[in-house]
């Protein structure tokens, strides 16, 4: 698992992936997104050479692009996808503790988060925190809704809906 973070600028993805391709690396699942003014890359790389060598190849590239580099041996491989069956949408006046409150309530039901993305919207004077979660749960919708029911009183709107994946 390759992690790269740094000030956003055009060409980061192209430069990094070219360097990986040149040494025969194969790229798998990835999440690449701009957060704030930073660009973040988390990328699964299958490499013919051991990790140390990969670090050697990437260190100059990361330095050139002013990116922080981190490498972790990752298990897995391709075709290990889990399909989410529950979607959770959260909105509330921005304040500390919303994520912990919502995910804590979900975690106590055994909810497994597959994806979480959040943003701050609204006026700068009255920011609104918006979070969308997709995940897996074996509990009923009623159980999950009950688990987050108390959050309404704290000004956090939580909407839990099933995700029906159509296979055709």
């Amino acid at each position: 698992m390759l992690t790269l973070v740094g000030e956003d600028r055009p060409g980061i993805v192209a430069r990094v992936t070219s360097a990986l391709t040149e040494v025969g690396c194969n790229l798998g699942e990835a999440s690449m997104i701009r957060l704030g003014s930073s660009f973040t890359i988390m990328l699964m790389v299958a490499c013919p050479s051991p990790g140390a060598e990969l670090e050697q190849i990437l260190t100059p590239v990361a330095a050139e692009l002013h990116l922080r580099l981190h490498l972790d041996p990752a298990g897995g491989g391709l075709h290990r996808h889990l399909v989410p069956n529950i979607q959770v949408r959260v909105m509330g006046a921005d304040r500390a503790g919303i994520v912990a409150a919502v995910t804590g309530a979900l975690a106590r039901t055994g909810f497994n988060i597959l994806e979480l993305e959040s943003d701050v919207a609204g006026d700068p004077e009255r920011p609104v925190y918006i979070m969308n979660i997709q995940g897996c749960s074996e509990r009923t919708l009623e159980t999950l809704r009950e688990a987050v029911a108390g959050l309404g009183a704290e000004g956090i709107a939580v909407d839990i809906a099933p995700v029906e994946t159509l296979i055709g």
Partner: protein, 177 residues
């Protein structure tokens, strides 16, 4: 009856347009039996289109009746189907027998009016909504060489609040049916 091989991406044959059915004969009904048996043989697919088994005629099967709480018309064999009217839109997650191990979010119309023929050639007409309408649109795309991966807007979280986009009276495209 026989289980046929399902074509998978990147098989170029999935990209070809299928021909209208002109002969409603025993051979057609035998091929439909194969299509249904193939659909039943794999993971729980709510639909299948003829080109997915390398049969390039405008035939699809849709059956969402196994999904709990979903409005439906039961098991449908649709020959030469055409969507005559659509309205509203919604995002939903889709996968495909021809694209294993990948799902993504796709925008589809929420209500459609559909015409088709049955295996004897008699005309059919339906008004559909929600999951069933989505399944029909997914299968009809196959007849035009399109796959849901051509329409994926996001693999990530559904960013759109469905409630906000619920059809309002007098909204654009909101012609009552």
């Amino acid at each position: 009856m026989a289980i046929r091989i399902i074509l998978r991406v990147p098989d170029e044959r999935l990209r070809q347009e299928s021909e209208p059915v002109t002969r409603f004969d025993a051979a057609l009904r035998l091929a439909i039996d194969d299509l249904e048996e193939t659909r039943q043989s794999g993971p729980a697919a709510v639909g299948i289109a003829a080109p997915q088994i390398g049969w390039f005629q405008r035939v699809v099967i849709v059956d969402v009746s196994t999904k709990k709480g979903v409005a439906n018309h039961g098991h449908l064999i649709l020959i030469n189907p055409e969507i005559e009217h659509w309205e509203g839109y919604d995002i939903g997650r889709e996968g495909c027998l021809s694209v294993p191990d990948y799902t993504g979010n796709v925008i589809r119309a929420t209500r459609i009016r559909l015409s088709a023929q049955d295996p004897q050639g008699a005309p059919l007409a339906f008004e559909m909504e929600g999951f069933e309408a989505r399944a029909v649109q997914h299968e009809l795309d196959h007849l035009d060489g399109l796959l849901f991966i051509d329409r994926v807007v996001s693999r990530r979280t559904d960013l759109f609040q469905r409630k906000v986009y619920a059809a309002r009276p007098g909204a654009a495209g909101g012609k009552p049916t």
